[in-house]
Symmetry: C2
Subunit: 209 residues, 2 copies
């Protein structure tokens, strides 16, 4: 379905109802894409299934129109029913082998990893890309421990899968992340919490060849 | 897949990690089935996907061994991956038409309804059974409004689908619920919060022909 996955992972913007400071999810998506986002992830562990599905339909339509990758976090059922391009699963979400049982061919699966061992397991299980972090520490997950650039490089070197750095990425450290071997960066607050979402996305996107 | 659905809905026990007072979910299932439960539902809106999936695998195995219907609440992805018999969806969960897009033939879908209008919509959408309530008021959903026996009868009379009464059902009101037209009753605390779960289930089951 998505042939140029690496290119689609360059600037991976995760929408957030709370960090978006009142900007509706659809508007976050639209502005981030205007600024150059190549992938959009919808994530909301608190939303009820019905609202999350409706949000997925709305954001998914925008992404499809703009040719941007659309990934739903955690809820594989919502991802499938809303016809997203893929699902992103954390280590506490549905296990990859369980998800694979109900995933059709061509549907993308991203897995959050912190270590080479988790990266190997994800690759063995058929993951399509990895979200690697928390790299620098992020306000959205205050209790997570960071892996730093050293940890990021270790994971990138351990796998042939395209890796996206996540966790405290901003214009000041994108280059360092890229040098560690990722194909792109995932951001939340560095884009959706900014007053000018378009400009924030543009500034990041400009740093990613 | 399940041919005798009506018979399987006679005593529908919903497991609950919190109301179970420390009894593990698997043990709640095992004891309820020993007491005559014909269906088991796993429900936990707070559990992470991975834990919920694992619980579904474990409880599902017990149900399969015992020939008891196994239904997973809300998380259709978990229901499918764990090979449950079906999924139960509330009015705030994934909409039925969305769920139907990814449900294989023979997979059971139950829908929570309060009104004849909701029952008609569920039937039109292809639901297999209805959970009707809150009938008498339940401690597990303190803010829900009750529909009473009158409301229960209205829903039962409005649909050919098998209906299960839910909400404050106990040995004192099972007969009244059955007279309103349901094929069975769904209970949580009336079984899983009791000191003797087997005896509690038996007492209820004895009242349902
Ligand atoms: Ni959830």
């Amino acid at each position: 379905m998505v042939s140029n996955l690496k290119d689609k992972l360059k600037l991976y913007v995760i929408l957030d109802r709370f960090l978006g400071k009142g900007v509706p999810l659809c508007e976050q998506a639209r502005l981030a894409i205007m600024g150059g986002a190549t992938a959009i992830q919808l994530r909301d562990k608190k939303m009820q299934g019905r609202d999350f599905y409706r949000a997925a339909l709305a954001v998914g339509e925008i992404c499809r129109e703009q040719g941007v990758l659309f990934i739903v976090n955690d809820r594989l059922d919502v991802a499938l029913a809303a016809e997203a391009d893929g699902v992103h699963l954390g280590q506490e979400d549905l296990p990859l082998e369980a998800a694979k049982k109900i995933i059709p061919p061509g549907f993308i699966v991203g897995i959050s990893v912190r270590t080479p061992a988790q990266a190997k397991a994800a690759q063995a299980g058929g993951a399509d890309y990895l979200g690697v972090g928390d790299v620098f520490g992020t306000s959205s997950k205050p209790d997570a421990k960071t892996i730093g650039v050293v940890g990021l490089r270790e994971v990138c070197q351990s796998t042939p899968l395209p890796c996206v750095a996540i966790g405290g990425i901003n214009v000041g450290n994108v280059r360092i992340a890229l040098q560690a071997g990722v194909v792109g960066v995932a951001v939340i607050s560095a884009v959706v919490s900014q007053k000018d979402i378009v400009a924030a996305a543009k500034a990041l996107r400009a740093l990613i060849p």
